[in-house]
């Protein structure tokens, strides 16, 4: 299962790679990364068919995660990728907007990787 992680913090990348070390080695999951909403759209433009799940931060300079979500929902609907939103501000407003714009799930930072792993595993089964 290919997962695209969108976050402006570059260190998110080694973190995911190490957290899912075993899963990656066993080819359960495959991760790709984008550093901004724009980056993510660019990536999806070429590879949207491969990506099953998108994990996106909400608070990013430039295009926000919510905007990215709207664009994805607008442009890619066959088949629609799963989108999970992540934010440091775990507030109602963001949650409501994310759900309204068609997010499949909503996670708050700091990420609970055990929980995320479980969620991903149920998805991939």
């Amino acid at each position: 299962m290919k997962i695209l992680v969108v976050d402006d913090e570059a260190d998110v990348q080694p973190l995911f790679l190490q957290r899912f070390r075993r899963e990656i080695r066993e080819h359960e999951f495959e991760f790709d990364f984008a550093l901004s909403g724009e980056d993510a759209l660019h990536y999806l433009h070429d590879k949207h068919s491969e990506v099953v799940l998108i994990l996106s931060d909400i608070n990013m300079p430039g295009m926000s995660g919510l905007e990215l979500l709207s664009r994805i929902r607008h442009e890619y609907d066959a088949p629609p990728p799963m989108v999970m939103m992540i934010t440091a501000y775990g507030d109602e407003e963001n949650h409501r907007q994310a759900m309204e714009r068609g997010a499949n799930d909503f996670l708050t930072k700091p990420l609970d990787f055990t929980l995320l792993k479980e969620k991903l595993k149920t998805l991939s089964e």
Binding site: E9, P14, R22, N59, E67, Y89, E93, Q97, K109, P110
Partner: protein, 433 residues
């Protein structure tokens, strides 16, 4: 005619007596004066028995003696002009005496004239006395007036001194208030920052936690690999662990730097200039300002565009003060874009741009936004203390005026403003390298 000399002498004594009557000198002269009076009376009576010329001589001598003695005496200086007025009479006495003695016939012939002259000399005393009395009166009045004026001046001086003291006190109070305002402005901006700071600290802390956890897992895995004998994999894991520890350190320092920056910001400025990396400073405050605003308005989003020139010299400045200036400019820029977003269409994208470069012998920092801009009619006022366009309670109106003080007064720099209402603003700060 000799009667006049004694009368004049008698009057001199009387006059001196009168003038001294209420002064502390009176006891000293009292006996002397009454003695002198008696001498004159006795002298006058005694002189009846004498020849005319002798009478004149004694009268003139008494008068001259008295004039001479009294005018030498310090205690009688106030009577000086009166004494001098007696000289013609005394002189007349001598003239009478000599003419009677040596030119008796001549004197007899013109006796009438001599008598007239003596009388006139006597009358002269009173004429002189009257004018001098008038002068004295005038002098007294002017002295009184001067005294009055002096009292007035005194009163005014006291009043002015009081006013001056009050003003000085007020000035001192104003200075204290200003210092308090500066501090509260700092605290207000710190308050705005708190959310941004929390966010900024949260991120590195998450990394520290996450990387620590994952590293613990990796060590377990490494042990497993070693048990299995997969040395290559163990080495690969070890290198990841090493990398993670570096990341933990990096993010720990990042959080540390933010806390330190926050403390620096809240602390009363030490005013110590030190070589400062302006790009680092600007980046730090840009993020803080952005996240501060985001924390308040979560739907707000802006493009942060940075044009940091590389290899800039470190410029001597008070970092927390310049940091405040930047923070203020960023806050204003975000505020302006946020305001514009309320009315602009969905196509509008808030953008705040920061540029650093050197220009000539100055370091230039340009903060530009595409917000509401500043209308021409208030452009002049924006640097004035307490001027704000924000609703009551939202802005102190001190941000830009303090920025001006910091840049222009404390760093000998310049602030230039370019703005067009509805299109955005550009603040250009230059600081001499």
């Amino acid at each position: 005619m000799d009667f006049f000399y004694f009368l004049a002498a008698f009057l001199i004594i009387r006059r001196i007596n009168k003038s001294l009557k209420f002064s502390i000198l009176y006891p000293k002269w009292k006996t002397m004066l009454s003695t002198a009076t008696w001498i004159i009376i006795v002298g006058f009576i005694a002189s009846f028995a004498l020849e005319d010329y002798a009478k004149d001589f004694i009268g003139a001598a008494v008068l001259f003696g008295l004039i001479y003695y009294a005018s030498k005496e310090q205690d009688f200086t106030s009577q000086h002009s009166y004494l001098l007025a007696n000289i013609p009479l005394a002189a007349m006495g001598l003239v009478n005496c000599f003419s009677e003695l040596f030119f008796d016939g001549f004197h007899e012939k013109y006796n009438e004239y001599f008598s007239w002259a003596t009388l006139i000399a006597f009358a002269w005393i009173f004429g002189k006395w009257a004018t001098s009395k008038k002068q004295e009166e005038e002098l007294r009045i002017s002295a009184e007036r001067r005294a009055e004026l002096e009292v007035l001046v005194q009163e005014r001086t006291v009043e002015l001194q009081k006013q001056k003291d009050e003003l000085q006190e007020t000035l001192q109070e104003l200075k204290t208030t200003q210092a308090q305002l500066i501090q509260s402005e700092k605290m207000a901006s710190l308050g705005e920052l708190t959310a941004g700071i929390a966010h900024e600290i949260q991120n590195p802390l998450n990394f520290v936690n996450n990387f620590s956890e994952v590293t613990a897992e990796l060590i377990e895995e490494m042990e497993l690999e070693l048990d299995k004998g997969d040395k290559d994999e163990a080495i690969a894991i070890a290198s990841d662990i090493k990398q993670n520890l570096q990341k933990i350190m990096h993010h720990g320092k990042r959080a540390d730097g933010i806390v330190k920056g926050m403390l620096q910001h809240s602390r009363a400025s030490s005013n110590v200039k030190e070589p400062t990396d302006i790009n680092k400073l600007a980046d730090e405050y840009l993020r803080l300002a952005y996240h501060g605003l985001r924390a308040k308005d979560k739907s707000f989003n802006a493009d942060l565009i940075t044009h940091f020139a590389e290899g800039l010299p470190e410029v001597s400045m008070v970092p927390q003060d310049i940091g405040r200036v930047l923070l203020n400019l960023f806050n204003n820029a975000f505020y302006a874009t946020k305001e514009k977003q309320k009315t602009a269409g969905t196509d509008y994208k808030p953008a705040v741009e920061i540029t650093t470069h050197t220009k000539g012998k100055s370091l230039e920092i340009i903060v530009k936004d595409n917000g509401t801009g500043i209308p021409d009619e208030i452009k002049e006022k924006i640097l004035q203390p307490f001027f704000t366009t924000k609703p009551t309670g939202e802005g102190t109106g001190l941000g830009l005026s303090l920025s001006y003080d910091i840049v222009v007064k404390a760093h000998s720099g310049k602030i230039d403003v370019k703005s067009k209402a509805g299109e955005g603003s550009e603040f250009r700060i230059s600081i001499p390298v």
